[in-house]
């Protein structure tokens, strides 16, 4: 069955290509300023793309302009998340999906590595227990 998010909403433009609504550029400025702040002051930041009033084509345009960089990751936790560095070092996209593949958050993170990629202390403690238990069996 075709899923709702697969039905594309398109607005015709004279050239017959998907029009965007000019909302990508202001976000790029915001990213530039955030990147400058990270470079000089080490301040990390994050933009929730779902809180922005994008029109059809805006998100695609923004992601196209940001491009792809050297790193691409997937994370399996409550559904698959895709994380990649854009063509601009320090600018990351974090695309969280649920188990059904529906997007639950889309963020732009400015920093060396998105926060969620780091191993978390709670999981490390749990890992020590599990590894120790496994060793006991041998």
């Amino acid at each position: 069955m075709q899923r709702l998010q697969d039905i594309a909403i398109k607005v015709e433009s004279p050239e017959g290509v998907q029009a965007s609504h000019g909302n990508a550029l202001p976000i790029l400025y915001e990213i530039l300023h955030a990147l400058q702040r990270f470079s000089t002051e080490g301040e990390q930041s994050c933009i929730d793309l779902r809180s922005l009033p994008f029109g059809p084509g805006d998100e695609e345009e923004l992601l196209r302009l940001l491009g792809r960089g050297e790193i691409h990751m997937t994370m399996e936790a409550l559904g698959e998340s895709t994380i990649w560095e854009t063509a601009f070092s320090g600018v990351w996209i974090v695309d969280h999906r649920n188990a059904e593949g529906e997007r639950v958050a889309l963020q732009i993170e400015i920093g060396s590595v998105p926060q969620i990629v780091f191993s978390q202390q709670e999981d490390i403690v749990d890992a020590i227990d599990r590894l120790a238990a496994q060793l006991k069996e041998h």
Partner: protein
């Protein structure tokens, strides 16, 4: 039963860990919750800290004069989504459409939940309450008014879901044959949050419940009792077609060149300028699109008396030149999105709403 009790006493952090959800999974859940509550991602650590310790609140859902559209809206958000995770972490103790029990057993469940969670449970209401004659709407022989007053007496707060519960909605439309009123007109001694919309956006309903679950408090409300995070800005102020509006580019019919090019729908009756709701950002059908994006003007469904606010296809009675002059169109960084540019004050909109011609039954008869 014992299992249920154990689940109730566990915090959300504990129960997620017990289900084998990693810390990363939990942080992802928090990021999605922040996005759903329309809070900035900088709030994620605070949300994580609060959710870690959050306990499942008991929720009693009462349905009065309604069409079940609000429940449909909520349950159409497909499983197993983050919204559902929220529902795993509230205890929905009574909802006569969704629960298995019926008749006396259902009423007993409601009474048990009220008794066990005295002073702490949330009452969600959809539908308006008829005051003209209690016989117009009753459940298990109990009038809507009596059930509302009785159930709310021990509640922490009330969430009025949908325009009927929030403002009277369709049953309250002229000539209001059942004497329908909103929850807020009856309940004066408890906090009432109005989540209006016909129906409301599902993530807005769950967002409000998530706020209570996370912080144990209610979000900041506007003058009409609606959460500011979702209802703080008008559809018009966040509409991606706004730059067309500001340039005076309007669709005049639903199939003209302007309509095909996605121009502003103001002249086709869009009520975006006087309507406060989150459709332009939260969108509908899992973020697929929203009415204006699909080419139809906003009907104003989250505002009081929208059924009586003139025809859906009549342009608002604010002259568009007036709006353009007051808002202007500012381009550049900092101002960010075209859709965010300029804001009209509320009184302009209120005046426009007041100027609306109202439609009577006689008018409808004449037209048909």
């Amino acid at each position: 039963m014992a299992d249920d009790r154990k689940k109730l006493s566990m915090t959300l952090g504990e129960s997620l860990r017990q289900q084998g959800v990693s810390r990363r999974g939990f942080l992802k859940y928090c990021a999605a919750t922040a996005s759903m509550m329309a809070l900035p991602p900088t709030m994620v650590p605070a949300i994580a800290q609060a959710l870690e310790k959050a306990k499942r609140p008991s929720v009693i859902w009462l349905s009065f004069q309604e069409c079940t559209g609000c429940t449909e809206s909520l349950t159409r958000s497909h499983s197993p989504s983050v919204e559902n995770l929220i529902f795993d972490h509230i205890s929905l103790d009574y909802h006569h459409t969704l629960q298995v029990a019926s008749g006396d057993a259902a009423e007993a469940a409601r009474e048990a939940a009220m008794h066990e969670n005295e002073g702490k449970y949330i009452v969600v209401v959809d539908g308006s309450i008829p005051l003209a004659n209690p016989g117009y709407s009753a459940i298990a022989g109990i009038s809507n008014l009596q059930m509302l007053e009785e159930t709310v007496a021990g509640a922490a707060a009330v969430v009025a879901v949908g325009s009927c519960a929030a403002f009277g909605g369709l049953p309250h439309a002229n000539p209001n044959p059942t004497g329908a009123v909103s929850v807020g007109e009856i309940i004066k001694d408890k906090p009432v949050v109005n989540v209006s919309g016909c129906p409301p956006i599902p993530t807005v309903i769950t967002g409000v419940l998530a706020h209570f679950l996370t912080f144990g408090s209610l979000p900041e409300l506007d003058a009409l009792g609606r959460p500011m995070v979702f209802f703080g800005q008008s559809i018009h102020d966040r509409c991606y077609r706004r730059p067309f509006y500001d340039k005076g580019l309007f669709a005049e019919t639903f199939d003209d060149e302007g309509a095909r090019k996605g121009w502003c729908l103001f002249r086709l009756g869009c009520k975006g300028p006087m309507t406060y709701n989150a459709c332009a950002t939260a969108k509908w059908n899992q973020g697929t699109s929203w009415p204006v994006e699909s080419g139809h003007g906003c009907l104003g469904c989250s505002e009081p008396d929208f059924w009586d606010a003139g025809g859906f296809y009549n342009a608002l009675s604010i002259p568009d030149s007036d709006l353009t002059r007051k808002t202007g169109y500012v381009v550049g960084a900092g101002v960010a999105l075209g859709a965010v540019a300029g804001a009209l004050n509320r009184s302009t909109r209120a005046k426009a709403a007041a100027k609306h011609e109202t439609v009577t039954i006689e008018d409808l008869d004449k037209k048909s």
